[in-house]
Amino acid sequence: MLKRSQWLENARKLDWEFSYVKEEEVFPEVASGKPWLPHDQWKDWDEPYRTSFTEYVRMQSKKDDALAAVREAIGKPEDFWRLPKPWLSALKLHAATLPLAEFAAVIGNLRGARFGRDSAWRTMATLGALDELRHTQIPLSSMHGLVHHDEQFDWTHRFYHSNNWVAIAARHLFDELLLTSNAIEFAVATHFVFETGFTNLQFVALSSLAHDVGDRMFEQTLNSIQSDEARHAQIGLPVLATVFEHDPAYAQYLLDKWFWRAWLLFAVVTGFSMDYLTPLEHRSRSFKEFMQEWVLDQYVRSIEELGLKKPWYWDTFLSALDNYHHMVYASAYSYRASVWFDLVVPGPEERAWLREKYPDSWDGFDRIWQTVTEHWEETDIGNDFAVHGTAIVTFCNLCQLVLSGGTPAKNTATTAIHDDKKYIFCSEPCRWIFERERERYGDHRDVVKRVLAGEAPANLVALLTEYFGLRFETWGKDAFGGDYPWLYRKRTA
C-alpha cells in the first residue's frame, strides 16, 4: 500500500489539459473571476493543511463526537437559563445572523469547488463546503431547540426569511459575498478578509468571553467551528497573492471593499456582545482591544507582507473603532422593538468601564445614556414604549445599516445623486464602494425608500409586526424592564 506522501501530491494536483473545449469555457471569467489567467499561472497554488478526504472525515467525526458529549453534559435548556440575561441576547444575535450565513457560504465554497483555478484549491473548497454545512447545523440544532422556552430563539431560523432591517442589511452583505461572488472574489473576500481577518473575533475572542461567562456550550461550539475556519481560510492567501501579482489594483480594491463591509457587520454582532451584552464582571477586554489583537495586527501584517497597503480609509476606520458600535447600540437600544433580542442600559459601573476603554470617544455616548437613564427614572418598570423612539430611522444605501457613522458630534452621512436618484451613505467608504459598483447596488431600496414607496408601513407598530415579522412576544425589550438596582426611580406605580 502506498504511503500518504507517495499519493497525496498526485491526488491534490489532478489538473489536465482539455482536448475538446477551451480552458476559458471550462472556467469562464464570470464564474471563476478575474483576472482570467491560464492554469499555468495557478499551478503552484498551495496551502499548508493538505488534508485528504479520509483525514477530513476522521477528524470531523472526532470533533462532532466531542461536541455531542459536551452538549449531552451541559447543553440542556436549564443550562442556558442559568446564564445572565444579557448574554442570552448575545446568543440570539449570533444564532440569527451567522448559522444561516454559513449555509450560504456552502454555495460560495461549492463555486470554488467547481470554478477554482487549481485542483488543490477545488479540493480544499469542497472540504470548506462540508465545513460550512456543519457550522450551520450545529448552532441551528442547539439554539433553535430553545424556542420551546424562549420564542426569540425562533429567529435562529426566521431571521433571513424576514424583512427585518438587520436581516435586509445582512442579506445585502451575504448574498453578494457568499451567493453571487465568483470564485476569486469569494476566496479573497470570504477566506482572506472575512475568515482570516474577522472570524477570529467572533469564534476565538468571543469564545474566551463565553468561557468567562460560564457558557461552556457556546465556547465549545465556537472553538469547534473555528478549527475548521482556520483550515479553509488558507484558501484565501494564495489566491490573493496570484491576483496581486497580475492585477495589484484589483487585489487592493477587493481587500478595501470587503474589509469595510466585514467590519460593519462584526462591529454590530461582536461589538454589541462584547461591550454591552457580556456582564461587566466577565469582560476581560473591550471590543476595541480584541479588534486590535485579533484583527488589526495580524491583518495589516499579512497584507503588507504581500506588498498591499492598508485601506485608503484607514483613519476613518480607526475613528470608527472608537465610535461605530457605540453609535449603533445606542440607536438599537432606543429602537429595540425592531430587533429580536433584548438590550440593556449600561449602568454607572459599565459606563465608567467604557470611559476607561474608550477615553477619546465615550463622553458623547455617556450623555446619551444619561438621557436614556433619566427617561427610565420617570417611567414605570416595564413601560418599554415610554423609553423608545417613534420616528422612522434612516438607512445607508450601501450597507443598509442605520445612518450611525461618525460620532454624536458629527454624523458622517454623505449624499450623492446619480441619474436623478438621491442616495445617502453612512460613511465615505460605503459611498466609495457604491460608486465603484453602482450597477450592482443602485436599484436596491433601503427601508426608508420602501416606506415612501408604500411597500412597507410608515406606522412603527405596523412596520414591526407586518414588515419586520415581530410580535410583542418576540420583539426586543429592555432586558430588565428598566428595573436596574442602580436606577433611582422618581415615579412608582
Partner: protein
C-alpha cells in the same frame, strides 16, 4: 409632506423628518429634537444647516428649496 434626513448634534442616528413646505427652520429643529428626545436633551438654541449653510430661523422649507430626501443638520448655536 417632504421627507428629509435630519441629523441632530449629540445623537447617534439620522432620523426621517416629515416636513411641510411651510415649516420654518425653527420648526425643523423642534421636530428633530422631539423625535430624538429619548437620547438627546432638547436645547433652546439650535441652528439648522442645509447644504453647508446656516438657514435663518424664519426661512421655510420651500424658500430654502429643500427637496425630498435632502439632508439637514441641527447643531448647537443661536438660530438667527
Amino acid at each position: 409632506m417632504i421627507p428629509l434626513y435630519g441629523f441632530l448634534e449629540g445623537d447617534s442616528i439620522g432620523l426621517l423628518v416629515l416636513a411641510d413646505e411651510n415649516d420654518t427652520a425653527a420648526d425643523l429643529a423642534e421636530k428633530l429634537q422631539s423625535a430624538a428626545r429619548i437620547r438627546v436633551k432638547a436645547e433652546a438654541k439650535m441652528k439648522v444647516v442645509y447644504q453647508g449653510v446656516m438657514i435663518a430661523s424664519h426661512t421655510t422649507v420651500a424658500e430654502a428649496q429643500m427637496g425630498a430626501l435632502d439632508r439637514f443638520d441641527v447643531i448647537k448655536g443661536e438660530l438667527r
